[in-house]
Amino acid sequence: MSRATIACKDDAHPMNLLTVIVLLPLAGFLLNGLLGRRLGRTFVSVVGCGLPVLAFLATFKAVLLLQAAGPDAALLEVAYRWASFGDRGFDVAFYFDRLTAVMTLIITGVGSLIHVYSTGYMKDDPGYARYFAYLNLFLFFMLTLVLGRSLLVCFVGWEGVGLASYLLIGFWFEDPAKAAAGKKAFITNRVGDAGFLLGLFLLYWALGTVNMDEINAAFAAPIAPAVSASLVGVLLFIGATGKSAQIPLHVWLPDAMAGPTPVSALIHAATMVTAGIYLVARLHGIYEHAPAASQVVAVIGVLTAFFAATIALVQTDIKKVLAYSTVSQLGLMFLALGVGAYGVAVFHVYTHAFFKACLFLGAGSVIHALGGEQDIRKMGGLWRKIPVTFFTFAVATAAIAGIPPLAGFFSKDEILWFAFASEHGGSPILWALGSATALMTSFYMFRLLWLTFLTPSRMSHETEHHVHESPLSMTGVLIVLAVLSAIGGFFELPHFLEPLLPIPAVVESLEHFEHTLVFVAVAVALLGLAAATFMYRRGLARGEALAARFPRLHRVLGGKYYIDELFEAVLYRPLHWVSDRVFLGLGDRLLIDGSLHGLAVLTRRASGRLSRVQTGQLQWYVAMAVIGVVGCLVWVWRHG
């Protein structure tokens, strides 16, 4: 599996291209951050949107270069040596192969679109310059994460992206709830990062290197390295769950909706949350040799998918529905990774980026139109008032639901197929849960579509007359994304990534099932559409009736299975109690300080008693003297 890596430094290649791609957004951050407020809005939007577009073009150039170099070639570029220890050390190097090409294209492409969209959405926001600075900062860290060759550089991007999401979620920091959501996101990510670090240390000790391509090669090598692939796999997967909001660490994503909608679109739909999938896909070498770890990935993936889909059924906030749908889709991607279909997972990332970004931006456009209203129960009848948003939203909904010609159908169908038949851990149960999730997905997406656009209007009078279509900068982006999510599916990504990410072999006995499963998938999608139409055609009535019949189930789903409260009770409060009562109260105050003060009191009291010996009586002193003399004499006898 030797790979033709072309050192970027050679002459056929312009000045190190990859470093430029990474540094462009950083320049944007610095320019906007430092000068933004002073130089006015136009400067900010030009720099803010211009630099990501430039980065996109540079990526395009790199992709062309890569194509010229053959299927499994890679561009390698060492920026500088971070730290060296004797003959070995860590250096900051960038690596560009087909997988990175896809990811970078998505990041810069969708990123630029979202930047353009944000110029419209955030137009009248006082923190305009600060917003674009943070957005560019996010792009910089995301590109470092994706382009980094060593796990260390990837980790720099990993935490940086966490920081950027912290800043962006808590963008309107006046409202303490929003700031708390930012904090929660950062800390939950941090827990994941701790797992990532553990995996990184283990790898460095075992293989002496953290460069991802060398790691893949080491695990593929005949003599297996000293460490068990599954352990490393699970540790890195913990990092992935933190970043891609899988079951134990998914609590931060729904709260992250507190940030501006374009942020949700960029970070919590298209790019950041896919970092976990990129990591597992990139280090497929480990997971190929770690069936146990892959099984864990698959199971957690499918559970998260199913579990998030159920919650999404009852959500009433337009962005929360989309958030849980993202968690669910990510679960499906991990399912694909778990069964060894790495290429397919990346394919789903690719398609998901398009239609989820389109959905989020559409939701943003709706919110923008309604002047901040996010509760779908107070919407309805918008399809006539904001037709473009409605049309693009409908296309994206169809895509995510898996209606055949659109992108979602292709990637989801392949995931379900490999979940069913992959040799590398596929099983009918996984397929069944996956299909159920697909059913629920199409149901709640079309429910959303019906309630927001098609049902008779439930808007309050003054919002109704205030509704207006979003400016071109927003609708334009929506149209581009809708088109992409429509035709995206035809570009056979898994085969494009074939040499890099192997497509798992399929169990022969199940070979012939492929076509039947395709029909089943289509049937599931249409069934969801029909159910949603039946339930919500005339408005909320039937929905509420159903909810009334299963009040307890509705409350549990509505309360998100009370996971947050569980974490609060099991983790946060005991930690506080222990630190406050046990460590501070008992440890510091009582034991350590107490013993010190005790010592001081002891000495004072002892000296007090001793001083009473000085009675002032002469005779007492003479008596003492005599005892002394007799004592000395006795001592002299014994030792004399």
């Binding site: 009586q617 005779q619 007492w620 008596a623 005599v626 005892i627 003399v629 007799v630 004499l633 006795v634 002299v636 006898w637 004399g640």
Partner: protein
């Protein structure tokens, strides 16, 4: 007063012992200084201070019993240590036993130890000055 008299008689008997031992100089000075000077001064003071003083009435301090016990203990300890140690550390004098009669002793005394003799005079002067200082400080404090 009775204590003073008893003490004088004790000192006189001691002087007697010295005389019998042949150390006449010491005996003479014992009588001269101790009895003559010290005890006279003591008697004078006793007569000066009034007799009704309560310390005469309640004669013994609280440490009566422990005092006696300690005294006996001390005497015993000294006795035992004297017996155990046996011969005194210093060897008997090599030269002829010097005569302790007055004339040879004083010649010997002033030839060898004249310096110590002078020093004693310095000591006495210091004592007198101290006594005066105490008296004056006493007067100033109540004056």
């Amino acid at each position: 007063m009775r204590v003073a008299l008893a003490l004088i008689s004790c000192m006189l008997s001691l002087a007697g012992i010295y005389a019998m031992l042949g150390v006449h100089v010491v005996a003479v000075f014992q009588v001269l200084i101790y009895v003559g000077a010290v005890m006279v001064f003591m008697v004078y003071v006793i007569m000066l201070l009034d007799v009704r003083d309560p310390s005469f009435v309640r004669r013994y301090s609280r440490l009566l019993l422990p005092g006696i016990v300690l005294g006996a203990l001390l005497a015993g300890a000294l006795g035992i240590s004297a017996i155990r140690l046996g011969a005194p550390v210093i060897q008997p004098g090599a030269g002829a036993a010097p005569s302790y009669l007055v004339q040879p002793f004083s010649v010997e005394f002033l030839r060898e130890y004249w310096l110590h003799f002078e020093l004693t005079s310095v000591l006495l002067v210091a004592a007198v000055v101290a006594a005066i200082a105490i008296i004056r400080s006493g007067r100033r404090s109540d004056g």
